[in-house]
């Protein structure tokens, strides 16, 4: 466990130089959201942007390691490749969750500020269920992106990995979009029974959690396989 703590310390200290940029990023988004939106808009934009921003911010640790060729050096110490992969996932998950929490706090602050700046929106109710849904959705959405991105970065490096993820996300969008288009053209009526709908609605948080854990685990196994074979 000390190894993981050491790696996390390294990444957080490296990312410290982004501290000011991050604060500016948060403030700019709060400002933009207040200026352009109503109460609901502030919540959705801030929660998603903060989750996304922090999630992507954690990925910068790969670039620092790559620039210093730190992975090679780290392997000369009492660490394993498994420790290195595990730590990157812990960092990414923590960044996404912290981003979502900052987003939530920022959206509350934004709403309070909005009620003073634009009093016409002060009557709009703050829907807690909707906000939580947005929070979970943002965490899962950004999490899914990371699950694709991390193995790509381990395989191709931070720079090339960014290009690869664009290609992969583009392909996924194409496949999903194509599938919907095909279903539409085939004129298939897919309507789940009431029982299925009730089941999904009742167990949605558990289903989402299981799916998220499954995707993260799958991504971790792929990354581990890549790193074990990688020539540092």
């Amino acid at each position: 466990m000390k190894e993981i703590k050491g790696l996390l310390t390294k990444d957080l200290l490296q990312l410290k130089s982004y501290q000011k940029t991050l604060i500016v990023f948060i403030l700019v988004f709060i400002g933009t959201a207040i200026a352009q939106s109503n109460a609901k808009g502030v919540s959705s934009m801030l929660i998603f942007m903060m989750t996304f921003g922090l999630g992507m911010f954690s990925m910068a640790s790969f670039s620092y390691d790559e620039m210093a060729k730190a992975d090679t050096y780290l392997l000369s110490m009492p660490l394993t490749r498994k420790d290195m992969v595990k730590e990157k996932y812990i960092l990414s998950i923590c960044a996404v969750i912290i981003g979502a929490i900052i987003g939530l706090v920022a959206s509350l602050v934004g709403n309070i500020a909005l009620s003073y700046i634009k009093p016409e929106f002060s009557g709009i109710e703050f829907n807690i269920i909707e906000t939580l849904g947005l929070l979970v959705g943002s965490i899962l959405g950004v999490g899914l992106m990371q699950c694709i991105q991390i193995p790509c970065v381990f395989k191709w490096g931070a720079e090339k990995g960014r290009l690869q993820i664009l290609v992969i996300i583009g392909l996924l969008a194409l496949i999903i979009g194509g599938a919907f288009l095909l279903i539409g053209k085939m004129d298939l009526a897919i309507s789940p029974t009431q029982e299925i709908q009730n089941f999904v609605m009742t167990y949605l948080p558990v289903i989402l959690l299981v799916v998220a854990v499954g995707i993260y685990y799958g991504s971790y196994r792929i990354s581990l396989k890549i790193v074990k074979k990688k020539e540092m």
Partner: protein, 285 residues
Amino acid sequence: MENAIEIKKLTKKYPGFTLEGINLSLPKGTIMGFIGENGAGKSTTIKTMLNIIPKNKGEVNILGKNMETSEKRIKEEIGVVLDDSFLSDYLNLEDIDKIMKQFYQKWDKNLFYTYSKQFNLPKGKKIKEYSTGMKMKLKIATALSHHPKLLILDEPTSGLDPVVRNEMLDIFRDFIQDDEHSIFLSSHITSDLEHIADYITFIHQGKIILSKSRDELLEQYGVARCSQKDFETINPSDYIHYKKNRYQIDILVENRTQFKKKYQQLCIDKPSIEEIMLLSIKGDK
């Protein structure tokens, strides 16, 4: 004598380059200089022995333990300096201390700051603001601060001016004062090794071509310099390599005294490690 490093038939294959069946032993309490031209396989040997690069074949034992079964325990007891990699340039001394104390059980903060002070490393500055010499000193201070028994150093003096290089060599001399300590040091600056190494190992195109004690090399080997006419009188079994220069032929011989007795008319000198390396690599047989 117990060995600090024992490598048997270490093999690593790449398309276009093979590290072939490397065998070497470093007796405990000594320094081995590992030399060869750029691209000869020095860094690959070090990275493969440390399992940074997965090997194809071979066995590595360090400090009496097998690398396959005791990798973490071995790495707790060694200090490594790699030529081209370290931690991020955006960190400073305090950051390095905070990170390293998590990695090494025996990390000694006081020792780290003592070395940093001795090497005049500024505490608050980020590594990116350090000079090349300072960066190397930092790598060495980091490698020494968890009380390692063995130092494995890849090109620790390359890119450094003679003054800093000498400082480095003094640090290595201090470290080796303890009989339990050993150093494996790769370099292409052979003059450095002539001063401190007890053993010299040459690597060329992924193969070890020579591994002997420095004294044996410098006291027994010789370089005879002669004309083409004299060269023709020498029995090929009496020399190892020769190199034709513009005005003379340099001949590398394994036993200077015996050669001198047999060919009294020829001039034979004590060679430098560099001459032995050049003749072994560039010379003909």
